[in-house]
Point group: C2
Chain length 354, copies 2
DNA sequence: TTGTAGGCGTTATCAG
DNA sequence: CTGATAACGCCTACAA
């Protein structure tokens, strides 16, 4: 730690030789400034900077030196105007702190990188207003947007200004936009079959907070309960204010109050399910002995808790990659994939909690 | 699922009225095309699109209709060329799958959003080559870059082309770039004091893989060991191939082979520490009874595992925000903050594992 | 090897 | 209220 406040970052301070103007202000150096300083034409500067051939090594060196002196960097705007082909995608995520989303994002970034696209990321922190602001920004800066949104279709459209949009995790019939979905119905079918097969009849659900309408997992849960002839209805579903462990803990608290006879719970996601386990155990119920817990997402975290979480595992990276594929189709004017082709299928991973 | 493959995404397919050219190809509509279709000048289109005043409501409507028809969107490049002030930062992250980084990223995004900046994110998956590619890209597209890098300063500089860089998690004396650091020495001082205070003398470390040089945590660990007069040296440190739970598991395996007499381990990060716990328990050692485990990072995951992980907690969001602050200084030509002002201090959070 | 002319798509300025 | 004209910074084509 000694000498810690010695002169550092010198590299950064040394530069900043901005061009002084008549008005007293300064601007960044342009190709013109470099040309003047080096005593050549702008064209020659361009050749040197983009190291094309057709230039005398000596002049090239002189030009490069001038550029260095002025801290010249080509304007990405001017360049983009002339050289077409730079694709920028926007990625809108509700909450980077939920491990689910970074994994989707990783898939998006990976696929984007392969195509040579860049990705501008926004974290809306699950806030409707911020969602709209993100769209306002991206509608200007991105060629397409992919993400999770709570706002409804027409609101999105209004803030999109015509930029193509790919929605994550919405079934096609729920939106007029292109989408990449999750087969919630199929997942819940397997999940509930597992629970019922283990003898459970009094199954509760800790739902996420899906805004005005009931989400697909909610619907699918009820459908499966009906199908198995369970005596389970809306009263067995409690909503989580937050899609997090604490959200799950609180919701489980309420579920146990309202339906103390419950023997199994299905969590909207793994975080919530983990919260459910914690509350259950704190209130003296063994998991899975007294209460079975089933999650949804397949976070790697689920394998680390105790008991390890049984869950409906999703290939989140693939979700992200698929989304980029959809974007590519839209950009090519091809029309998005639909139905099963744009679906990720949950896979039941049985561990200790159910 | 019924009717799932019905006509959807119609909204997307309907548009794409690109401008046909003499060469048979098609391009996106420009302001010029709209002007022609609406029978006005480009200027009027501009006024309508950016809804400035000074335009007849009727013409405005006509223009907007034309724009809609042609699916016109202003070119961000042309716009950027004329309107200054759009700031884009690049964020380079080694591994989005490690919960540490999304949290830093969240801090960066938050601070950037407040300043009205956009952030282009790259995930290098801890690959040196990808690091360089990311820089190549960002040096063209970003006004500044912040991130984690394994490549050395001069390599970075070479791929940076003069774009300001803020390094995350490197002490100033280790780099000529601006940086935001972590007070590893201070953290380890408290951590080791805790372990030694509990009577431990045979303490091992599961180090991360910090490339050629030994990282600050490594150094600090040895320094503290010395200070407490422990009989501990390099032989008590084993490196993890991966900064992950499995990486930690494997490393712990090796440590137990080489130093079975160990009574406490310090993990390079929480993931590794969790891996250590798992291996220890699998090999029949109680945690913390037979083996105390101390992590570094303070991931929320640590509170979920059993026993809950004692750790040196970092404010990762703050780390990200600080980085953006550094960028702002560089962009303003101010010279970066240095030393304690650009530091995040680990705080010992004692839980059950040590 | 180097320089000149023109255009990329948009907005600002200043006439009409 | 509307329309010329001139930048913005760079690159491609062509000419010297």
């Amino acid at each position: 730690m000694a000498g810690y406040s010695s002169s550092v970052g010198a590299d950064q301070e040394r530069r900043k030789p901005r061009i002084d103007q008549s008005d007293g202000l300064s601007r960044r150096a342009t190709i013109h400034d470099v040309a003047r300083l080096a005593g050549v034409s702008r064209q020659t500067v361009s050749r040197a900077v983009n190291d094309k051939g057709e230039i005398d090594p000596a002049t090239k060196e002189r030009v490069l030196e001038a550029a260095r002196l002025l801290d010249y960097r080509p304007s990405r705007f001017a360049r983009g105007l002339v050289r077409k082909g730079t694709v920028t995608a926007g990625l809108v995520i509700p909450d980077l702190m939920n491990p689910f989303f970074p994994e989707v994002a990783a898939g998006v970034l990976e696929a984007a990188e392969q195509r040579g696209w860049q990705v501008v990321v926004c974290d809306t922190r699950s806030d409707d207003a911020r969602e709209r602001e993100a769209l306002d920004m991206l509608s200007h800066q991105a060629d397409a947007v992919v993400g999770y949104f709570k706002n409804e279709d027409d609101v999105l459209a209004r803030h999109l200004g015509g930029v193509p949009l790919v929605l994550l995790e919405r079934g096609p019939q729920q939106t007029r936009f292109a989408a990449v979905g999750i087969d919630a119905a199929g997942g819940l079918e397997r999940g509930m079959a597992h629970l019922v097969g283990a003898g459970h009849r009094r199954i509760g659900m800790l739902d996420g907070d899906r805004g005005p309408v009931r989400g697909p997992r909610h619907e699918a849960f009820l459908a499966q309960a009906r199908r198995h002839g369970l005596d389970v209805d809306e009263g067995w579903i409690v909503c989580c204010a937050e899609h997090s462990v604490v959200g799950g803990e609180a919701a489980m608290e309420r579920l146990l109050d309202v339906r103390p006879e419950v023997t199994a719970v299905f969590g909207f996601n793994d975080l919530i399910a983990v919260g459910a386990m914690r509350t259950a155990r704190r209130r003296g119920r063994e998991v899975p002995g007294d209460l079975a817990v089933l999650g949804f997402d397949g976070l790697s975290l689920g394998a680390l808790v105790e008991p390890a979480l049984t869950t409906l595992h999703l290939d989140k990276r693939r979700l992200g990659r698929l989304a980029v594929e959809q974007v590519a189709r839209l950009l090519a004017g091809e029309g998005p994939l639909v139905g099963e082709d744009a679906w990720v299928i949950p896979e039941l991973v049985v561990r200790a909690s159910a």
